[in-house]
Symmetry: D2
């Protein structure tokens, strides 16, 4: 039996509680939450779980094996560090920390203490994303030319972090997972409407090695809920629409064909040495057997603890995402300057 302590029962915490409580061999031992109205709900739904108001009561409790942290990003580092130093395995919600330094420190401590440190990049446990990666790796889409991603909604305008830190960790973790590469350069432009230091809308560019370009648009001020990533390859193009119920992936057999010129070709030609021809074929919507990604994530955390294995979304993965978030934020604060990584 693995005993879990959960810190934070706000927006995401209840989802973690539900999932951990339903895993066989796991006991949701304690929840730390300060707000009174949340406390009521916890008592009703988890009568056997202990309710505390100070996170120290979780970190210091000898019965607890692992701590899940679902608090505002600015508190992640402090809480995770304390939990690790108290000998707990730790699962931190995304983003792992708010600076890469902090992420590096957490990684170091986890290594020294031989503890599991995992970050909640949920989308890397999402079956549609896994299927998308499969199609990319198979080579069938040819070379990736560019990717653009939109994560838009009329959502909560947070005051502690901007829309970029709030929404983009998902896009970034998906992209790193898909491409298995790290960007060389980033630049971004942000729009602030209500508070000069908090971007409500961000457009970011990421340039990857091998000349893959990525464009990300995040906003919490949009009429529609859009969570879409479009991968344009030379042979095929794929749309990943996370909002769709029955067509999360659409694989278009469309591409550009480069026709080489036969040598000795003498006629004048404005197309240069080759011709570009458009090819358009079938559309395939693959069947995806969908398991709740968070359930898979929680299971994975438990298995990594039990088997002493590195999580797929370990501290290093969290650090990589934070480094990019940080770099884009620096570009935002510097008028869109290109930032090297």
């Amino acid at each position: 039996m693995i005993n879990i302590g959960l810190i934070g029962f706000g927006y995401w915490g209840p989802n973690l509680a539900k999932n951990f409580s339903q895993i066989n061999g796991v006991f949701l031992h304690s929840i730390c939450e300060m707000k009174k109205e949340k406390a009521e709900r916890i008592k009703e739904q988890y009568p056997l779980t202990r309710l505390v108001t100070n996170f120290k009561e979780i970190n210091k409790n000898k019965e607890i094996d692992a701590v899940a942290i679902a608090t505002p990003p600015a508190t992640h580092f402090k809480l995770a560090k304390d939990a690790l130093l108290s000998g707990k395995h730790v699962l931190v919600e995304k983003p792992l920390t708010t600076t890469s330094r902090q992420a590096e420190e957490l990684i170091k401590i986890a290594q020294q203490e031989k503890l599991t440190l995992m970050v909640g990049h949920t989308f890397e446990y999402n079956d549609a994303v896994l299927k998308l990666k499969e199609h990319i790796k198979s080579g069938e889409i040819g070379d990736i030319l560019y990717i653009y991603s939109q994560r838009l909604n009329l959502g909560i305008l947070r005051q502690d972090i901007n829309a970029w830190w709030n929404l983009a960790p998902h896009d970034i973790s998906i992209l790193l997972f898909l491409l298995e590469k790290f960007p060389l350069r980033v630049s971004a432009k942000g729009l602030t409407f209500f508070n000069n230091s908090i971007e409500d809308v961000v457009f970011a560019h990421l340039d990857f090695d091998g000349s893959i370009s990525v464009h990300i648009h995040v906003s919490w001020l949009d009429p529609n809920k859009i969570r879409k990533m479009v991968v344009v390859g030379t042979k095929k193009m794929i749309i990943y629409d996370d909002v769709s119920n029955d067509a999360k992936l659409q694989i278009f057999d469309k591409g550009i064909v480069k026709l080489d010129r036969p040598s000795g070709n003498s006629y004048p030609d404005s197309f240069g040495e080759y011709q570009l021809v458009i090819r358009s074929g079938n559309l395939l919507v693959p069947q995806i057997s969908f398991t709740e990604p968070l359930r898979k994530e929680c299971m994975h955390f438990i298995r990594c603890i039990r088997d002493k294995k590195k999580p797929l979304t370990d501290g290093e993965s969290g650090l990589r995402v934070v480094r990019i978030l940080e770099a884009v934020d620096r570009s935002l604060k510097n008028g869109g300057k290109s930032i090297k990584l």
Copy 2:
């Protein structure tokens, strides 16, 4: 009877021919086209129209009153200048020219010669765009916070101009028409895949006076045909989807409400001096009685000639669009540098 000479019967020319030939009181007098297979089609469809292969035969023909130019952009200036100097009224396809200097010169000649110079910014004659402007001007959407526009498709990869000059004239002319303002600054990032000097994908930012920001994404390498403009206001949000058959405009009664703090409020608050509350209401899809925009454009050209009136999309309008196209292109060629206007 107004006699029209049409130069160019490639992609757009046939549409102009069809529309002019159906206006009562207009005679499609001559068409200039060099390609043989096009000539065949012209003879069949317009048996009474004269077919020529040199544009001079149109510009020099005394019977012709007005010339419509639907040739590649690089030739617009030369053809339009010659037509004006030959005393013809001129309708030029968008973009008016490929440099603002050329546009200025055309405007000057047209003024001197007292001739009508009009540019084919078709979308300014589109009923959905007119309705959109009505809703913006009524004030019901509050202050415009930002606008983003997407014009994407797996289209022809042109070799004479990049995707920006090819597709963005539409977005720019719509934006200037809607906002009745001129941007202060632009910057852009382009992606080139097959030819280093021809951008296939462009992301551009335009900053307008009064802090309205605009983001434009054009591409001729996309799996779906998307022609969408999203206007985010403080009180309402509007989606203009040109591809939709039955919901070209969607007006969302969604917005952000700023709640001012009552004076004497003493409790500590992370939100600062006000609170932002999200409001979500009905969606309205207004009925739009749609007339073919090109038909309205051609009619307008004829009326302006007859009544000696300034066209809505006159040379100045064409110049404004070219100036922005040019500035964005300069930013593209200078690594995304911000360009003042």
Copy 3:
């Protein structure tokens, strides 16, 4: 505190368990379920709830106030009768029973024993249906001409009841709720593919007083999940699409206008005495603040018990639905014969 006993933890039972367990002042006292793998899940999710395998243990338990029945339809009557005779308030899943006789008997017993008898017509607690009724009652859509309903899916092919008894209780209860009338006549055609006595697809017609016609199409053999009801009125038309996330109701300002002829009109006219003109206007998608219908249903059951009030979906409501289901079934078994009600 009201103690609930739940009989059946198959497809729908878990939803009732979840909702009752989350109502303040309600205790999910016991669950009766025979299948072993379900028992495991119950123990994990409801550790304080007693698990039994014989429904008598629920009906006979003095601590239990009310019984919720979520078993196959054929068992509803026997279980509900036993529960009522044991002095329990009863909530039965739809359909109330499989014959109108049985329904009448349950109603009589509940009256005699002064107990609450309620049927789980969930859609009558659905906010979209409530909004739809509001729009109909306001008179804005004019006279209702006809309604058609589709409930289609590639679902489980049940062997105990046909697709009609399985799916149509929803359509029927919604229709009776909306129209507040009872049909005069029904007829139906069924298709059987795998078992001659079990219809997989049914098309039914219901004729209501005041000449409203209703057509229902149910099927568990369809590629798409469709749950759609279209109400065609003389002034407006409404689509209720239960599958849609963001547009459950669409109100089309479209209708037929009857133009009366001026008297003394002497010209010959093929249209008779009036002319029919089509009118087409805006589309409105009203904002619906959605609460889970089953939660509202469970709350309503509890309140009716506490306040000794008649439920909205009482035994009579259940009987009305069963009478129509029965009549249509009779038509199915008699080659589509028209059945009077």
Copy 4:
């Protein structure tokens, strides 16, 4: 050169005129139209075409080889008969005639006179329908269980024929083309709202040999434009959505698998001798290279005349459709009685 005479320039006539006038080797010799405002348009668009107001002037004209008839259905027989007896090849709009007797007579005359008689079942020249047939014939969808078709719209409420005769010829001709079978029995229910003898909405059932059932729903009183046919097979299911721009066919790899019981199986089983298992796989949207169906139809008519070949949609094909239209109409007028064919 084949000279065509067109009778009727109302709703459909202009489409025939446009297509015939664009075929190389065909001359649109004359058009018969009585309405003045139409005459104006004809003169402008077809200056070389003779305009007449009496159909006799077309049928009697020696220069004309073939006559296309696009007038109200009630006049088809008289006009077509006169044209055939005048020695003209004839293309009649759907439905061929309004009684099967008339259709038989036309067929006989055409045979005697050795003339081409063709009916304008346009959808049999539609590439999406051809592709659909290909997929059905390949056997990949298994046995067809049932088909349902919807042709709905807020359209013109005609006073000369009901919605069934107006809209269903398309559904019927598509079905006969796909199934290559003739129904054994039909029955139908109609709704009349404004004129007791003219059905505005019709629901029809057709039972084909081999136990394929078809359900058709036509209406000119619906908020949305729907033209959809769903083919449910044992192995796959296909949706043909004629209104869709980019997904006219959707092929769902979904079906029902019958698992036979191993012999000697002794355990009790409510499923009888087999088990039904649902299978759900990919969705394929095949690329369809679309040519305007009417263009193909007109070309086919010309080729049949030239090569003295039987048209795909010959008089017999027209007769088959009329026979079914007639039988359904008889059922409508007889309270839904089942009519044998």
